[in-house]
C-alpha cells in the first residue's frame, strides 16, 4: 500500500485505541491488526514487537489491578482487594492500547522503506529541512545500534575469562557501564564526522532537493487510497455499531 495512505491509517488507529471504547471493540481492532501483520509480514514479525514490549505489558497487567479496586472483588488478602472486575477491565484496556499502538506503528515502519516514509511525510507538507533530519535520524539510529553491537563484541573479547565470574543482577548493569561509556564517546566523536559527511554530500544547500525514489502516481495511488479509505471507514463505523 502507498505510504501516503498508510501514514493516516496509522494515525487513525492510534486515535481509535485512545478513544473510550468498549473492550470488545478494542480487542477486535487489535485482532484485525494482528491478522494483517500475520498475513502480510509473517508470524515471526507478530512476535517481535510483542517481545519488545513484553516487560512493559507485564508491569501494566500486574500493577493496574491493585489501584482499580471498584466492582466485584475476585481476590482479597486481608481487607485489601487485589483483583476486582474494574481492575481487570482497566488492565486489559491499557494492555490492548499499548499493544495496538505499538502494532500500528510497527506495521508502518516495518513495511515502509525509510526513504518512502520521508517522501510520504513530505507529501503531507513536512518542510524539507525537517524531513532531512528525520531521515538522517531514522537511518542513523540503526547505525548506532550497529556501533553498539561492535563495541559489545569488543568488550566480550576483552573481558572473557579473566577469572572474573559471570556477572549477575546489579553486576550486569555495572559491567554494561564501560560499554555505554564507549558508545557515548564514540558517538560524540562521530557527530562532527557525521556533520562533515553530510556537508560533503550537499546538506546545507539552498536549492530544492530532488529525490531518486518516487512514490507511484496514478492507478496505484487511487487503489491504495480507496483501500485505506475503506479500512478507515470500517474502523470508524464499527464505533457506532457498538453503542
Amino acid at each position: 500500500m502507498d505510504p501516503r495512505c498508510k501514514l493516516p491509517l496509522a494515525v487513525l488507529f492510534t486515535v481509535l485505541f485512545f478513544l473510550p471504547l468498549p473492550l470488545v471493540l478494542l480487542g477486535a481492532y487489535l485482532g484485525a491488526l494482528s491478522l494483517a501483520i500475520w498475513l502480510g509480514l509473517g508470524f515471526r514479525e507478530l512476535v517481535r514487537p510483542l517481545r519488545t514490549i513484553a516487560p512493559l505489558l507485564l508491569l501494566v497487567l500486574l500493577l493496574t489491578p491493585p489501584f482499580q479496586r471498584g466492582g466485584q472483588a475476585y481476590l482479597r488478602i486481608g481487607g485489601l482487594t487485589l483483583l476486582s472486575a474494574d481492575g481487570v477491565r482497566e488492565a486489559a484496556r491499557l494492555a490492548l492500547r499499548l499493544t495496538g499502538v505499538t502494532f500500528a506503528f510497527f506495521v508502518l515502519l516495518r513495511s515502509t522503506a525509510p526513504a518512502d516514509l520521508i517522501l510520504a511525510l513530505r507529501a503531507f507538507g513536512l518542510p524539507f529541512g525537517a524531513g532531512l533530519v528525520v531521515s538522517v535520524a531514522l537511518q542513523y539510529v540503526p547505525g548506532l545500534k550497529g556501533l553498539f553491537d561492535q563495541v559489545q563484541d569488543a568488550h566480550r573479547l576483552r573481558r572473557a575469562g579473566n577469572g572474573a565470574p559471570p556477572a549477575r543482577g546489579l553486576q550486569v548493569v555495572r559491567s554494561l557501564l564501560p560499554q555505554l561509556t564507549s558508545v557515548l564517546i564514540l558517538s560524540i566523536r562521530r557527530i562532527p564526522i557525521l556533520a562533515m559527511a553530510l556537508e560533503m554530500r550537499g546538506v546545507g544547500r539552498t536549492n530544492r532537493r530532488s529525490s531518486m525514489r518516487r512514490l507511484p502516481q496514478g492507478r496505484r495511488l487511487v487503489l491504495s487510497s480507496l483501500a485505506a479509505a475503506a479500512v478507515g471507514l470500517g474502523a470508524v463505523v464499527a464505533i457506532f455499531l457498538f453503542p
Binding site: A113, R158, P178, A197, M200, R201, G204, M212
Partner: protein
C-alpha cells in the same frame, strides 16, 4: 595549464588539549596540481595525511578548530571562503574510515544522496547511480552496514563516481582493497581525466607509471620525488613505505610444534539476504607460527576471524584448541577467552578515558596486584611506543591508537591473536615491528591482509579465500 588545485603557504595546528599539546602540523606547505593530474602523497602514519585531505575539502578547521594560514584554491575559488556543501561538484573526499561516511540504509540511496542535494531529476540520478554501483560490482539494495570493510570503501568511492567532482581526494583509499579493485580504480581515475590526490602509507607497485606526481609528506611539508630511480627506492625503504630486503627474522619453528587451533568443516551464512556462504573444510593455525589469510574483498576473511574468536557461531563445524596435549573442542565463550581478535578499526576496541586505565582494565579483572600491573604497564608503554599513561586515547593519532589497541591484547596474553588488516594505515614495516612483539613459541598468529608481499614475508603458511571457500 590551469591548476585545479593550488595550495600556498599552508600552515596549520590543532587546538591544544589537556595532557596533549598540539604541535604545528603543516608549515608553509605548497602544492599545485594542473587539471587532470593524479598525485600520490606518501606519508608515514601520523604525518597528517587525513588532516591535509580534510583541509583541502574545507572540513578542517571548520569542524575541528585550530589555526590555519595560507591560501587554498580549488577550481579557481578559495576553499576557505566557501562551505563544503557549495562545492560538492568541485571537490569530493573518501574518508580513511568509510564507515564514518555512510549514513543511509541502502547502497543506492547512499550513492544518490549528493545528486539529490544537487536537485537532479530522478531519471538522471538513477542512471548515474546504477552506473556507479555496477562499475564496482556493488549491490543496490543492501544495507551499507552489512558490507565488508573493502566493500564499504568501494561504496564511498561509488558515491564520488556518481557525482564526478573536478578534484578527488582519496584518503588511504587503496588500503583494504584487493589488488584487482585497486588496479581497476586507478585505471578508471586515469580515464576520467579528473584531478586526483591519493594519500598512502604504502607504495604499491601499481602506482609506478600510473600516477603523474609523487610527493613525500614529512615534517609538515610536501616534497616532490621522482619515482623509478634508485634513490627513490632507497627512500621508500628508509621511510618505511616499502619492506626492506628480506631480513632473517626470529622465525619460530613454524608449524613444527603442531597446531594450536584447528577448524574442521566450518559452514556459515549470514541471515537474510545475500548469497554469501563460508565453507572451510579444514584450517590450521601453527603453534609458534603465523598463518596469513588473503583474498578479495568480501571473500569472508573477517567472517572467518569472527568465528575463530567465538563472536559468530558457525552453522556447522568445530573449532579445536590445543593447550598442551590433545586438541579440545571449544565453545564460543572458551574461544573468546583464548583467541584475541584485533579489529581493523581501533576505535571500537579502546574506550576508557586514559591510556593507563585502558591497559590496566584486563589486568585488574584478572586480579593482579597494583604493583605488578604498574610494572607491566611501564613495559608496554615502552615497547609499544605509547605517548604516556595519562594521555586520552580518543585524541591520540591513528598510529598510536593502533599501537595501544595491540598493547591491550598483548597484556591480555592470549595464546592465539588475529590481526584484521593490521597493516592498513600503518605501513608494512611498522606492522611487522608490532607483529614481532607478539611472536612467541607458544602462540599462534593470524594475519589478514591484502598485501601479498607482506603475507609471504611474515607467514609460515598462507590461506587464500575466494567467495567463502579456500582457493
Amino acid at each position: 595549464m590551469k591548476s585545479a588545485l593550488e595550495v600556498r603557504g599552508l600552515s596549520f595546528r590543532f587546538p591544544d588539549y589537556p595532557n596533549l599539546p598540539a604541535a604545528p602540523l603543516f608549515r608553509e606547505l605548497d602544492l599545485e596540481l594542473p587539471a587532470g593530474q593524479i598525485a600520490l602523497v606518501l606519508g608515514a602514519p601520523d604525518s597528517g595525511k587525513s588532516t591535509l585531505c580534510r583541509i583541502l575539502a574545507g572540513l578542517v578547521p571548520r569542524f575541528s578548530g585550530g589555526t590555519l594560514e595560507g591560501s587554498i584554491r580549488i577550481a579557481a575559488r578559495s576553499i576557505l571562503e566557501s562551505r563544503p556543501y557549495e562545492r560538492i561538484r568541485d571537490v569530493g573526499l573518501v574518508f580513511q574510515n568509510p564507515a564514518e561516511q555512510l549514513f543511509t540504509a541502502r547502497c543506492d540511496a547512499e550513492a544518490a544522496f549528493a545528486l539529490e542535494s544537487l536537485g537532479w531529476p530522478a531519471q538522471r540520478i538513477r542512471r548515474s547511480v546504477e552506473a556507479a554501483l555496477s562499475s564496482l560490482a556493488l549491490p543496490a539494495d543492501r544495507d551499507p552496514q552489512t558490507l565488508s570493510g573493502g566493500e564499504k570503501k568501494k561504496l564511498a568511492v561509488a558515491c564520488l563516481l556518481a557525482v564526478r567532482p573536478a578534484v578527488w581526494l582519496l584518503d588511504e583509499t587503496f588500503e583494504e582493497l584487493d589488488s584487482g579493485t585497486r588496479l581497476c580504480l586507478l585505471e578508471r581515475l586515469r580515464a576520467s581525466g579528473r584531478t586526483v590526490l591519493i594519500t598512502s602509507a604504502k607504495w604499491y607497485e601499481l602506482f609506478g607509471g600510473r600516477v603523474d606526481r609523487v610527493f613525500l609528506l614529512s615534517g609538515g611539508r610536501l616534497r616532490e620525488v621522482r619515482p623509478g630511480t634508485a634513490s627513490f627506492h632507497a627512500l621508500l625503504r628508509k621511510e618505511g613505505f616499502q619492506l626492506g630486503a628480506r631480513k632473517p627474522r626470529s622465525r619460530a619453528t613454524g608449524g613444527a610444534g603442531g597446531a594450536i587451533l584447528e577448524a574442521e568443516d566450518l559452514r556459515f551464512a549470514y541471515p537474510g539476504e545475500g548469497a554469501f556462504r563460508l565453507e572451510i573444510p579444514h584450517l590450521r593455525i601453527p603453534r609458534g607460527g603465523t598463518l596469513a589469510v588473503v583474498g578479495d574483498n568480501g571473500s569472508g576473511k573477517s567472517t572467518l576471524a569472527r568465528i575463530l574468536c567465538g563472536l559468530l557461531a558457525p552453522a556447522v563445524g568445530t573449532v579445536r584448541f590445543r593447550p598442551d596435549g590433545d586438541l579440545q573442542v571449544m565453545d564460543r565463550t572458551s574461544l573468546s577467552r583464548r583467541v584475541a581478535y584485533i579489529f581493523q578499526d581501533p576505535d571500537l576496541q579502546i574506550f576508557l578515558p586514559t591510556v593507563e586505565e585502558e591497559l590496566a582494565y584486563g589486568l585488574r579483572l584478572q586480579g593482579l596486584e597494583e604493583e605488578r600491573i604498574a610494572a607491566r604497564l611501564r613495559g608496554a608503554v615502552e615497547s609499544f611506543r605509547l605517548p604516556g599513561l595519562s594521555a586520552p586515547p580518543a585524541l591520540l593519532s591513528y598510529g598510536a591508537r593502533k599501537r595501544l589497541q595491540a598493547a591491550v591484547y598483548h597484556l591480555l596474553d592470549r595464546p592465539v591473536v588475529i590481526f584484521d588488516e593490521g597493516d592498513s594505515g600503518l605501513g608494512a614495516p611498522e606492522f611487522v615491528r608490532l607483529l614481532d612483539l607478539f611472536r612467541d613459541q607458544a602462540r599462534g598468529l593470524v594475519v589478514i591482509t591484502h598485501d601479498l608481499e607482506l603475507a609471504s614475508r611474515v607467514a609460515d603458511a598462507t590461506v587464500r579465500l575466494q567467495k567463502g571457500r579456500v582457493a
